[in-house]
């Protein structure tokens, strides 16, 4: 974006008709005539133009120096006047490669031929040192020896097919996919490829990887991709929500759709962990129930509190046995082995429980990191600077929106955004006075102090409530009151926490309105930050209390079941409050605004707040998986119900969002938030419990052990005793898992990799700067050459 004035060229009528004949396949002819012309004229006019060149060279910097000036008259040749020499120049210029590339099929095929030829020739990435500022290599590296521009369309096609065959299959399919030709042309190309491939057979290519591994890898990649496409074809039929998502995106656009897609992602995660837990833990324990029978009958209240009938059921940790299920050595006392009976496979329940929870966490971690990586790849751009207006004009129109009213709304939104951007540009040039700036800083400071104060206040309130509830519970137990009261007391804490979360998020929304930030993106980030801080601090406090068990679950025998029940109650209350929030925040708001206030304004769907609620619910699930293996099932049910409730409420009560929302960047932010505070926190909590907390003595799969992890040691010792050959297992355990040096080493390697990536990104930024300079230089070159051409023609005319 240098400050050169633009050059306008007027293509006259007669040259227009000439272009129609000359351009489609005759770019080669234009190239050669251009070269010939320059050669001929340069010999003739060398002496006389040298002086002129020096003059212009001196003149150039003088004209370049003043920035932001309007178009220069001397660089606009032929405005109003029609020099006869101009027509040839203009005809030549109009058939330059940069202007014909998009127009004809021949040009597209030639361009892709060059691209594939370049791909084939390039062995490795060019080194950074070669990119110096003085050298100006041309960006259009056309291969002039085997110039495809001279050939006919059929020849070009066969040339391209030959080049494509020399690429690896994955590169070939990628290139074919990105070819901007119509289907008929692509089919012709495929036919050409098949014809060329069949006589050759499966000959190994000289330029492909010499090892068989690379060859196999390419075919495996292609095979996987074909499988994936076939699966994708089945997916619309198998997807139950395809039409619902289409409806939502049609009316509300990509921003609200991103919430529902996030919900779907969470559902997939939970279904996956649920399946693992069901197969390896729950189903087997259900097949071999423990000796203790269930004492309490089923009353409806269990669904809310998770206590009562559910206490001694598959839902909680306490139900699971610590023995080896189906153990053949424990069955027959007589000592004779019954050959006719089917072989019995022993199943070590504690080990299965620990490993299943570990594997589900590990798999979730990998899936999360992978989605984060993909999301970052799509939304993070190196060297992206200002350019919002251009991006807004070309990328803001959401083609998914199809309903008439929503289209109208979108037009209005874009109009407002453009006006705001223009106003912002104007205001940037006249900054605020000192008084105004101080006022803004004071308002911001006040808002932050208020929000941090409320966060601390809520945390302290929850802390005191915990202690108070503990006292009340003990009194109640002493007095032996009714069941209803007891259950009610259990519900007070989750109710209060959910109420605080809801109220505080509305308060933060109000604060955001009062603050009036400059950019709506910053507003959203600030709101997310505050909400997240509150939720994480409250959860942190609760985790501390669950671990220390001074006031919570202090007099229970089976504290894990107690913690599991607490988490179940929190999840159910969270769902109830989301429901109430939807009803009051959206339905009642709309009814009041329509019936009473007679306004057409409907509430907007608050995406950030809803996504944070989803993240909070998911954190609760992850925290509770160890204590209640069926908690993912509860979460799956909750998410399914939430989808339909939110969709119905959205359709009936809400309007499309009026603020600009960068859907892909926000999706990346959400998945990062899911990974970092949420999943990491849960993983740290679970790891701490597995490694350092003493499980209860009388219930659960880890009864009597020192820590949950000791069960692995016990098993390892057992394996050593039974088969002394497997020493590598104990070796792995001793030197890799329990040795701190190995963990430090792994962290060091990860840090080194991160540092390398950061340096690569820095290097890419530098390359982008250098390339931008090159492009600007090429533009200068072009203007200079055009000027020279005009001078040459003028002189030719004068001489003639």
């Amino acid at each position: 974006m240098s400050q050169l004035p633009p050059i306008t060229l007027h293509i006259s009528e007669d040259t227009g008709s000439d272009n129609q004949e000359l351009s489609p396949d005759n770019e080669g002819a234009m190239h050669t005539s251009f070269r010939e012309l320059i050669q001929e004229q340069s010999i003739l006019a060398e002496a006389s133009t040298e002086l002129e060149l020096q003059e212009r060279g001196r003149g150039h910097p003088a004209h370049l120096a003043p920035p932001d000036t309007s178009a220069f008259a001397w660089l606009e040749p032929g405005q109003g006047e029609q020099h006869p020499g101009d027509s040839t120049t203009l005809r030549i210029l109009a058939s330059m490669p940069s202007r014909t590339i998009g127009r004809s099929r021949g040009a597209i095929i030639s361009q892709y031929y060059n691209r594939t030829a370049r791909l084939r020739r390039r062995r490795s990435r060019p080194s950074l040192q070669q990119l110096s500022r003085t050298a100006r290599p041309s960006l259009r590296q056309y291969d002039l020896e085997s110039d495809p521009a001279r050939a006919t369309l059929q020849d070009k096609r066969s040339l391209l097919a030959k080049e494509l065959l020399s690429l690896s299959p994955s590169q070939r399919s990628h290139m074919l996919l990105s070819l901007p030709l119509c289907l008929a042309e692509k089919r012709a190309l495929w036919r050409e490829l098949d014809e060329q491939r069949s006589p050759l057979g499966l000959r190994p290519h000289p330029t492909a990887a010499p090892s068989p591994c690379g060859w196999c890898k390419d075919y495996i990649t292609l095979g996987c991709r074909h499988l994936w496409y076939r699966l994708l074809a089945l997916l619309p039929a198998a997807q139950p929500w395809h039409y619902a998502l289409k409806q939502i995106s049609g009316r509300f656009g990509s921003s609200v759709l991103s919430y529902f897609l996030f919900l779907k992602t969470l559902l997939m995660f939970n279904v996956f962990s649920l399946l693992i837990l069901l197969v390896f833990v729950v189903a087997l324990q259900a097949a071999y129930p423990p000796a203790k029978a269930n004492q309490q009958p089923f009353a409806g209240f269990e669904l809310l509190t998770g206590a009562g009938y559910f206490t001694h059921s598959l839902l909680y940790y306490g139900y699971y046995s610590n023995i080896t299920l189906n153990d053949p050595s424990a069955s027959s006392l007589s000592g004779s082995v019954a050959h006719s009976a089917p072989p019995r496979l022993p199943y070590n329940m504690p080990l299965a429980y620990l490993f299943t929870v570990g594997v589900s966490f590990f798999a979730t971690c990998i899936l999360l990191v992978y989605s984060m990586y993909r999301s970052f790849g799509e939304s993070y751009r190196v060297g992206s600077s200002a350019g919002d207006l251009a991006i807004k004009v070309f990328c803001a129109w959401d083609f998914k929106v199809v309903q008439r009213r929503s289209v109208k709304l979108q037009c209005e939104n874009i109009c407002t955004q453009l006006k705001e951007l223009l106003a912002e540009r104007r205001s940037r040039s006249c900054p605020l006075s000192l008084c105004q700036r101080l006022g803004r800083v004071a308002v911001l400071l006040l808002a932050w102090v208020l929000s941090l104060g409320t966060v601390l206040g809520c945390v302290v309130a929850v802390h005191y409530l915990l202690e108070h509830m503990h006292v009340v519970q003990q009194e109640h137990r002493a007095l032996a009151g009714s069941t209803w009261q007891r259950e009610g007391i259990l519900l007070v804490l989750p109710l209060t926490v959910s109420l605080l979360n809801t109220l505080m998020s509305h308060l933060y929304n109000l604060l955001a309105i009062c603050e009036r930030q400059d950019s709506p993106a910053v507003e959203v980030y600030v709101a997310i930050c505050r909400n997240l801080l509150l939720k994480m601090l409250v959860l942190g406090l609760l985790c501390y209390h669950w671990l220390s068990r001074r006031v919570v679950c202090s007099d229970e025998e089976c504290w894990e079941t107690c913690v599991g029940q607490d988490l179940y109650r929190f999840m159910v209350m969270d769902f109830v409050f989301t429901l109430l929030d939807t009803i009051f925040g959206e339905l009642v708001f709309r009814l009041i605004s329509e019936k009473r206030l007679k306004r057409k304004q409907r509430p907007e769907f608050d995406i950030a707040r809803n996504v944070l609620e989803l993240i909070y619910g998911q954190t609760l699930t992850w925290l509770g998986v160890l204590f209640a293996p069926l908690l993912p099932a509860v979460q799956v049910l909750k998410l399914l119900l939430l989808f339909y409730i939110k969709k119905t409420s959205l359709m009936q009560n809400c309007q499309a969002p009026s603020k600009p929302w960068q859907a892909s960047r926000m999706s990346t932010v959400f998945i990062t938030l899911l990974c970092f505070p949420s999943f990491l926190g849960a993983a740290v909590f679970i790891s701490y419990i597995i490694w350092s907390v003493k499980p209860s003595e009388t219930c659960g799969p880890f009864q009597g052990l020192e820590t949950i992890y000791k069960s692995v040691n016990v098993w390892a010792k057992l394996m050593e005793k039974s088969s002394p050959n497997i020493t590598w297992l104990t070796w792995i355990q001793q030197y890799l898992v329990e040795n701190t040096f190995f963990l430090f080493f792994v962290s060091g390697v990860l840090l080194a990799m991160t540092y390398c990536h950061i340096q690569v990104v820095k290097g890419q930024r530098r390359i982008i700067c250098l390339l931008k300079e090159q492009i600007a230089n090429e533009g200068e070159d072009k203007i200079f050459l055009i000027e020279k051409l005009h001078c040459i023609y003028q002189q030719k005319e004068e001489r003639a």
Partner: protein, 165 residues
């Protein structure tokens, strides 16, 4: 991609069942007029529907054969690569088909986006700023390379330039 192709074929046929035969093995030469294409629910209210139909039709006037129809929805689907989408988006916004998005093209685009709600002065300002931001080789118009370079910096492009069928 068989499933998607079948779905698209049935949608194409639904537009004019009497014109489009069920059997395409002998490659019948059937072209549906622009009015039918423009009446599809996915395109009916899109301000750029005429340009979309023109860009993907063979003769450039909006009448589409089945191949053109398949082409259009495959480029506008989720799976099309970014460069391909950028190429066709460039052609859509290039109203006068001169392979450059000049100022008049930009003005038409902005007016279609905002339904003529902006004042001419504001439209002029917007167009100037867009060209200033995106034009790299300083010829006063946006070429395909300028457009593609700008699209690379816009991560939302893939999700907005997408029609669900």
């Amino acid at each position: 991609l068989r499933g998607l192709n079948d779905l698209l074929f049935y949608r194409y046929r639904d537009l004019a069942p009497q014109l489009v035969p069920l059997d395409y093995t002998d490659k019948p030469d059937v072209t549906l007029p622009y009015e039918l294409i423009g009446s599809m629910p996915e395109l009916k209210d899109n301000p750029f529907r005429q340009r979309i139909a023109e860009v993907f039709s063979e003769d450039g006037d909006g009448n589409m054969t089945l191949d053109d129809f398949l082409d259009m929805f495959s480029v506008l689907s989720e799976m099309a690569p970014r460069d391909l989408k950028a190429y066709y988006a460039f052609k859509i916004y290039d109203f006068n088909n001169d392979d450059y998005i000049c100022k008049s093209d930009l003005e038409k685009t902005v007016n279609k986006l905002t339904r003529n709600e902006l004042t001419p002065e504001e439209v002029r300002l917007v167009c100037e700023k867009v060209i200033y931001e995106a034009d790299l080789d300083n010829d006063g118009k946006l070429s395909l390379e300028d457009f593609q370079h700008m699209i690379i910096r816009a991560p939302d492009f893939l999700s907005t330039f997408h029609i669900r069928i």
